[in-house]
């Protein structure tokens, strides 16, 4: 029904669609990339809040007062064992350096 109704526009749309395809694919990749980054950072949200905004006075250390750089430094210190802790040293070791960087960029305070 929808196709029938729009038939006169098909040819034009085809041209526009194909003409814009390469640019559109790039834009989509940027959005897909954002989705990837958000979903990776969301693995932290159970304990540190959606988008890193933890429950204030909830009992868990808040992380959203850290800049991305500070956060990455802490995550790497947990991973290397330089910083002690309860769960974080064990969890940080499960992520690649690249993943930790993405997480810090997503959740850290932008300067």
């Amino acid at each position: 029904m929808r196709v029938k109704h729009l038939k006169p526009a098909i040819l034009l749309s085809l041209c526009i669609g194909i003409g814009q395809w390469s640019i559109s694919a790039l834009a989509q990749n940027a959005d897909a990339n954002n989705l990837y980054k958000s979903s990776l950072a969301a693995t932290c949200a159970n304990c540190h809040g959606t988008d890193g905004k933890g429950v204030v006075d909830g009992g868990m250390p808040l992380i959203n007062n850290l800049t991305s750089e500070q956060m990455l430094t802490q995550l790497k210190a947990f991973k290397s064992g330089a910083r002690e802790g309860t769960i974080m040293p064990q969890l940080a070791k499960g992520y690649t350096d690249e993943q930790l960087e993405t997480i810090a960029n997503q959740l850290g305070k932008k300067q």
């Binding site: 897909a32 959606t50 429950v55």
Partner: protein, 424 residues
């Protein structure tokens, strides 16, 4: 032209092309997404489908209960140090803040061919994508006489937090000093591996202060404690000497409600005053009924890249219902993590983007050994594309060195944050 507007136009053009070639697939904005079950998995999936789609996906959550009651921490209610209200959250924010349509009802059947679900109220809903997160079913007939004993109110399971949790505490409170509280554990896999051992601690903690001549009997069908074994055993020896008795390889086969007698595959009968018998478990009823439980008829095999059922297309299954990957626990935390991977994959698929080829899952599980001290187990699982499964990262994860009150504070911090992350 701004990017969003630009993408919108392109998507319209692409939609037209798809329609023209007869391969129409619902776009992200048009797709009907039904989430069945509002526990840790389903609630999180509903919220993150909205977040990951910039609030454009149409999401409906179907959940029979009016409020969310957390299973994690509910052993504290059994032990009497906390009450159920402290573990209860509203679903309101999912609708008011996130624009999710919530239907308080239960799904009685699904038709994967017609892509419809039928509700108890009689309504039929259509879906393009279904997310099924129904938790577990307790297989009551795996222990002879259990169903009748439960109906008579004599044996309670309290393995889904709610009125039974409070009722079990009341049985404990009414037990004579010098009585026996017996908890039985089915062979793994079952919901919440350390849960029964944590419950034994909470019951013992109550008895220690109120009825010190009593004891807790743990009747475990498994070879040994299935989670945090060395830590729990140390706690039992140090904090509850003479109060907790652990009996491995005790597989319960029957219960006599009248005489409160438990029967085993091998060993002699045992009598107890409070019987908390946990039967074998399977995927939630709707998953089994729909033919999704294709792993031994009990659990649902999924493609771990997007949590789609291997039995039916466009049905994604999360949480305790799935056949887990190696070393993946059936926990609320894990269900929340499954939900985020599935939500991102569904948004990507409906947007015609590549699905993230390398998702990650983390798990954290705290167990209270008394009313304040806690032990944890944690793990990180990276997707292995070659083997199409999640594998724990060598060298990561681990246990607490010992119980601590600091981790007790973190455990409540975890609870408040995961409730906000799943429902807030």
């Amino acid at each position: 032209m701004d990017r969003r507007h630009f993408i919108g136009n392109s998507a319209a053009a692409l939609g037209l092309l798809a329609g023209f070639s007869g391969q129409a697939k619902a776009s992200l904005q048009k797709a009907e997404i039904l989430v069945i079950g509002g526990g840790y998995g389903g609630a999180t999936a509903a919220k993150y489908l909205r977040l990951f789609s910039n609030n454009t996906a149409k999401v409906t959550l179907i959940e029979p209960n009016p409020t969310f009651i957390s299973c994690p921490l509910s052993n504290l209610v059994v032990g009497g140090s906390r009450n159920l209200a402290e573990l209860t959250s509203s679903y309101d924010k999912l609708s008011k803040r996130h624009g999710i349509k919530i239907i308080q009802d239960s799904v009685t059947s699904m038709d994967p061919e017609k892509k419809t679900v039928k509700l108890a109220s009689g309504k039929t809903l259509r879906y393009d994508k279904a997310v099924v997160s129904p938790g577990v079913t307790l297989i009551m007939n795996s222990i002879e006489g259990l169903s009748q004993a439960n109906k008579a109110g004599i044996t309670l399971q309290a393995w889904k937090a709610g009125p039974e949790t409070v009722a079990l505490h009341n049985q404990l409170a009414a037990m004579r000093d010098g009585g026996t509280f017996a908890i039985s554990i089915p062979e793994a896999p079952y919901r919440c591996p350390p849960g029964p051992y944590e419950r034994a601690c909470q019951v013992a903690n109550y008895l220690k202060h109120h009825k010190p001549k009593s004891k807790v009997l743990i009747l475990d069908a498994n070879q040994d404690v299935t989670s945090k074994g060395a830590l729990f055993k140390k706690v039992w020896a140090e904090q509850y000497p003479g109060l907790i008795e652990y009996l491995p390889k005790y597989n319960v086969t029957a219960v006599d409600a009248k005489t409160k007698t438990i029967k085993f595959e091998i060993q002699d009968d045992i009598k107890a005053d409070v019987l908390n018998l946990l039967p074998a478990m399977s995927a939630g009823e709707i998953a089994v009924k729909t033919g999704l439980a294709n792993s031994n008829g009990r659990w649902v095999n999924v493609n771990f890249i997007n949590f789609e059922s291997t039995a039916q297309k466009d049905i994604h299954v999360l949480g305790d219902s799935i056949q887990v990957a190696y070393a993946m626990p059936k926990s609320g935390h894990m269900a929340n993590q499954h939900a985020k991977v599935a939500a991102a994959a569904i948004v990507a698929e409906l947007s015609d983007w590549e699905i993230n080829p390398a998702p990650v899952l983390a798990n954290t599980c705290y167990s209270f050994v008394n009313d304040k001290e806690v032990i944890h187990v944690a793990s990180v699982h990276q997707y292995n594309a070659a083997e199409k499964t999640f594998k724990p990262v060598p060298g990561s994860g681990g246990l607490s060195p010992a119980p601590s009150t600091l981790e007790g504070v973190y455990a409540w911090g975890w609870a408040h944050n995961i409730w906000a992350d799943s429902l807030g």
